[in-house]
């Protein structure tokens, strides 16, 4: 397949190395980190208004975290050797730490926190259910069936501690993803100390947006009224985080324009041509300015509940589109120009291929399927399950 090239590329540069799957990877981990940080608002910072989203945020983070390594695995030339990253990690490589950061976050933080938070429910359900469900819940108790007042209090304290540790861990998880790109000195589009910070804030933006959307969607599916105090508070956090994120990105942009180093002409040309749609139109205008503007309206105008709900829905969707475009522009954009700064190549994405669009779509849908299963197994709304709560109460 002939790849169109403009100007001069080093001959080995014509073919892009990192595909749409590598775009998906920071997008998914960003959602994980952001969802967890939203959950921590209630647990650590005592923001009671967002409590209805707490468990949903944790389960969302888990669902996306379970899928996050898959695009990487599919992308490797030798996935069967990926375990070597655990056995013989190369200390100087940013990527080598991925396995450890991932495992720490998955098992040391997220699973543990969810288990502690749900332990009471799990024990109750292991008593109230029958058949395979009973077996499953009994396994999930890990033999710890003591749900006395004192025991639950210990759970609460340990859970709080894990959340406190989890906040820097979430920053580490996604800041580190930013560092993977930001530390490549060969590539001026990536090489920036701001990259990890921008990644962290964009992660928070996307994570908050998806939990907000999922919360509203769940309420609609369950035919329950949206707790507007909760939605307003989440939207407020989304608005403020988004402003910080946008400011950082603009700072990076202004710095590049003013400094105008040797790469600037090449990068500037790229933004005005090959990345114009994905960066200027989708990322900045549609995915950032528009949602910030919409959210600002809800902050300054007194709008009715229905109007605010609609605005939150639209702003949330646009935010996710914008953050995905941001990941796209970082990963794909960073490979479209030559390191000689004299030419540009093209990204050709296949459809049914190992790293094609279909695979990317499946990997995007998969976390939602996992989340659906998790919501069935560990419902975040115990009040809908009278048998569960009554069982829990009797166990007390």
């Amino acid at each position: 397949m002939q790849i169109p090239v403009e100007g001069f590329m080093y001959p080995n540069e014509v073919e892009l190395q990192w595909s749409v799957l590598i775009v998906l990877y920071p997008f998914l981990t960003g959602l994980v980190a952001g969802a967890f940080i939203l959950a921590s608002l209630e647990r650590v910072f005592q923001v009671e208004a967002v409590k209805p989203t707490y468990r949903l945020a944790l389960l969302t983070a888990l669902a996306f975290l379970m899928v996050a390594p898959l695009p990487l695995q599919l992308h490797l030339g030798h996935p069967e050797r990926s375990f070597e990253m655990y056995l013989t990690p190369h200390g100087s490589s940013a990527m080598a730490m991925f396995g450890f950061v991932y495992l720490w976050y998955l098992l040391g933080v997220l699973v543990l926190e969810i288990w502690l938070d749900y332990r009471r429910d799990i024990v109750a359900m292991s008593q109230s259910t029958t058949g395979w469900k009973r077996l499953l819940y009994r396994t999930l108790t890990l033999g710890s069936t003591n749900i006395s007042e004192r025991s639950l209090h210990i759970d609460e304290r340990v859970g709080w501690l894990i959340t406190v540790i989890g906040i820097p861990s979430a920053f580490l998880l996604h800041g580190y993803v930013g560092f993977i790109f930001g530390s490549v000195k060969a590539n001026p589009w990536w090489s920036s100390p701001l990259m990890p910070v921008v990644f962290i804030f964009s992660a928070m933006v996307s994570g908050i947006a998806i939990v907000m959307l999922l919360y509203m969607l769940m309420c609609w599916i369950r035919r329950e009224a949206i707790d507007m105090r909760c939605a307003d508070t989440v939207a407020k956090y989304l608005f403020y985080t988004f402003i910080i994120d946008f400011s950082l990105e603009m700072l990076d942009l202004i710095h590049r324009i003013y400094e105008a180093d040797e790469s600037f002409r090449s990068l500037d040309f790229m933004v005005h041509t090959r990345l114009f749609l994905s960066q200027v139109v989708i990322q900045i205008l549609v995915g950032t300015v528009a949602p910030i503007g919409l959210l600002a309206l809800t902050q300054v105008l007194k709008l009715a509940d229905m109007q605010r709900k609609r605005i939150y829905g639209v702003a949330g969707c646009l935010t996710l589109v914008g953050i995905f475009a941001m990941r796209w522009n970082v990963v794909i954009g960073g490979q479209l120009f030559s390191k000689s700064f004299l030419g540009y190549t093209t990204y050709k994405m296949g459809f049914v291929a190992r790293e094609g669009l279909l695979t990317a779509i499946v990997l995007t849908v998969l976390p939602f399927v996992i989340l659906w299963v998790l919501l069935k197994l560990l419902p975040p709304w115990p009040e809908k399950h009278p048998s569960t709560t009554s069982a829990a109460a009797s166990a007390d």
Binding site: Y10, P11, P79, R81, P89, A96
Partner: protein, 243 residues
Amino acid sequence: MNITRRQMLILLPAAAVAWDHILAGTPEASPNYNMTDHWWGMLIDITKCIGCGSCVRGCQLENQVPDGYFRTWVERYHVADWELEYPKVDSPDGGKGGFPIAKEEGGKNFFVPKLCNHCADSPCTQVCPVGATFVSPDGVVLVDQKYCLGCRYCVQACPYGCRFINPKTETANKCTLCYHRITKGLTTACCEVCPTGTRQLADLKNPKDPIHEFLRTHSVQVLKPHLATRAKVFYYGLDGSVR
């Protein structure tokens, strides 16, 4: 001798492993080569390069480089006048078949052979998550093909575009400075076939190597010195427009 079914089940995989080992053969030994006695690099005299592409062809034949990928290549620069920032560069098929007649008139034209710079502080080895790529004790950047994950991070990290993923092995591939040859006292394939002596293999640890005299008496440059990779491919006659 009777072999039971259980014994057969144990013996068959063992026999397969042994047969695989026999087929692999033993690597050609270099008994007189001591890695710590050498520190390899290369000298490229741009004023001598005629753009014939022999080096690219020689490298491809010697190292079974797949079509469309390059362990070495040749670029042709055209610089019109004082605008060093915007040279016109071409490298049709890596310069493998030589170059067509230049269209531009005036200014200057010259050829720049490129290959891995075998950097002492190489960004590509720094980023490898499993250490499959490394700087050998004699200063050559190599890739362990049986260990590389094919994650492509090294390809991204190389500032010179010298690495690629071999579509046959799905692993990172690059110039080895013909390691299989230089450890036997031979020179690299590209140096061997160059008709003008543009490329010269250099042993920077050998005090008798003529490279030392050349470096003392000539102005030489490395590519992208601002990236501080301690590249060991030295260029004589390198124009400021070269990237």
